[in-house]
């Protein structure tokens, strides 16, 4: 009889094009160390795997073999070539194991789950992406989607805050973005050593003067909850309708598919009604004090 750890492998073998509910054994193709505590894993998936059909903003449940699973957003990849990427920050038991994976290692994946950024709703207007820390990872596929159809949008603005200059994700890509004339990229660090030549301050301060027309703007915000609250408020104060500001909620998850209630936030299950929700939905829930 197959052991518990082997069951998903048996299921995957029996049903190569399994639905998103079935965990599949997938292989790490590449590992890129982004910062001292964060890596991007490129995972090879079998042809036809539903996770290759992800929409920007969605997440997968990832589990190193023999341990638990955690929700991790898709941060990019080349679905046509059979890979998806996840950018993982080492904060605890499971994420530490994920960050320690090497090319060739296997892990479990199920997904894609949850709602998407739907950046195409911004076509014809300005798109403002505001990322804090690891929050750039879930936004990256939306940014790439917008850049792939750049002429369909007006201003494209990325505002990015990190703890220190050393915590910048996707730094080479950001260097290339900085050189583009059709994208405004502003990065700020909360703290920096004296030699740092970039901006120091909080990301919410960037919202006030960024070049966008609030009336035509779609804003996508991802980062720690306090940062998202203050950023969304600053966007609304500048005149962006709350219904045009989207945030990606984070709650600890178990099933990821709306069955267990672990991720409940007011009337929402973050795993199925979110993670991406508009600010008019999220605002009243995030100010409820949980006891």
């Amino acid at each position: 009889m197959a052991s518990l750890a082997e069951l998903p492998r048996a299921a995957a073998a029996a049903a190569p094009a399994a639905g998103p509910l079935v965990p599949r054994v997938v292989r790490v193709e590449r590992v890129h160390r982004e910062t001292r505590d964060t890596v991007t894993l490129a995972l090879r998936l079998p042809p036809g795997d539903p996770a290759l059909e992800y929409r920007p903003g969605q997440f997968d449940m990832l589990g190193p073999l023999g341990t638990g699973e955690v929700p991790i957003s898709v941060s990019g990849g080349a679905p046509a070539a059979g890979t998806v990427e996840h950018t993982v920050r080492d904060v605890g038991g499971v994420t530490r194991l994920l960050c320690g994976l090497r090319p060739g290692d296997e892990l479990l994946l199920r997904g894609p789950y949850g709602t998407a950024w739907d950046a195409e709703d911004g076509v014809g207007g300005d798109v403002v992406l505001v990322a804090g820390g690891i929050g750039l990872a879930p936004l990256r596929p939306a940014l790439l989607q917008v850049l792939a159809a750049r002429d369909r949008y007006r201003n494209v603005v990325l505002l990015y805050g990190t703890r220190t200059p050393r915590d910048l994700l996707f730094s080479r890509e950001l260097d290339r973005l900085r050189r583009r004339r059709d994208v405004v990229l502003e990065h700020t660090a909360d703290y920096a050593e004296a030699g740092w030549r970039g901006r120091v301050g909080v990301v919410t301060d960037l919202v006030g003067r960024a070049p966008f027309d609030p009336g035509t703007t779609l804003a996508l915000v991802c980062g720690p909850e306090v940062m998202m609250r203050l950023t969304a408020t600053a966007l609304v104060d500048r005149g962006v309708p709350a219904s045009r500001v989207r945030v990606s909620l984070e709650r600890a998850m178990l099933c990821g598919v709306g069955l267990c209630g672990h991720c409940q936030l007011g009337p929402l299950f973050v795993c199925t009604d979110g993670p991406v929700v508009s600010w008019d939905t999220a605002a009243p829930l995030l100010v409820i004090r949980e006891r």
Partner: protein
Amino acid sequence: MQTIEAVLAEHPFFRDLEPQWVELVAGCGRIVHFRPGEDVFREGEPADRFYVLRHGSVAVQIYGPATGGVTIETAHDGDVLGWSWLFPPYRWTFDARAVIDTSAIALDGTCLRGKCDADPAFGYAMMKRFAEIMQRRLLATRLRLLDVYSHGVPR
């Protein structure tokens, strides 16, 4: 070349300030430039002015034996730098150093304080503008105190 008054009238800090008051402020101003690495002011020195930045970037820094030099914040185009000129003992509490070529209007604090005292309506309008900056900086400081990027997911 633009006059100091025209530069101030266009600057976000003085937006919507009565034109006669902008003229009053301009009377206390002079145009200044800083090269990269040049000090704008230094901790402990008398704070007899503040700066309205036109173009450039200035790092506000503090030095400690354990931490070395740390940049606490940076000021950029459209920002205002320094409020120590407003309150006794009128001394800078941080260092400020230009990061890149920077041009600014330096406003004489003693001159401005005199005008604020002489015309309380003008003084109040100026104070409101500085209070707003201080409130924004306080919020930013609180946010950084929370150190949000190292916090976990709500369980």
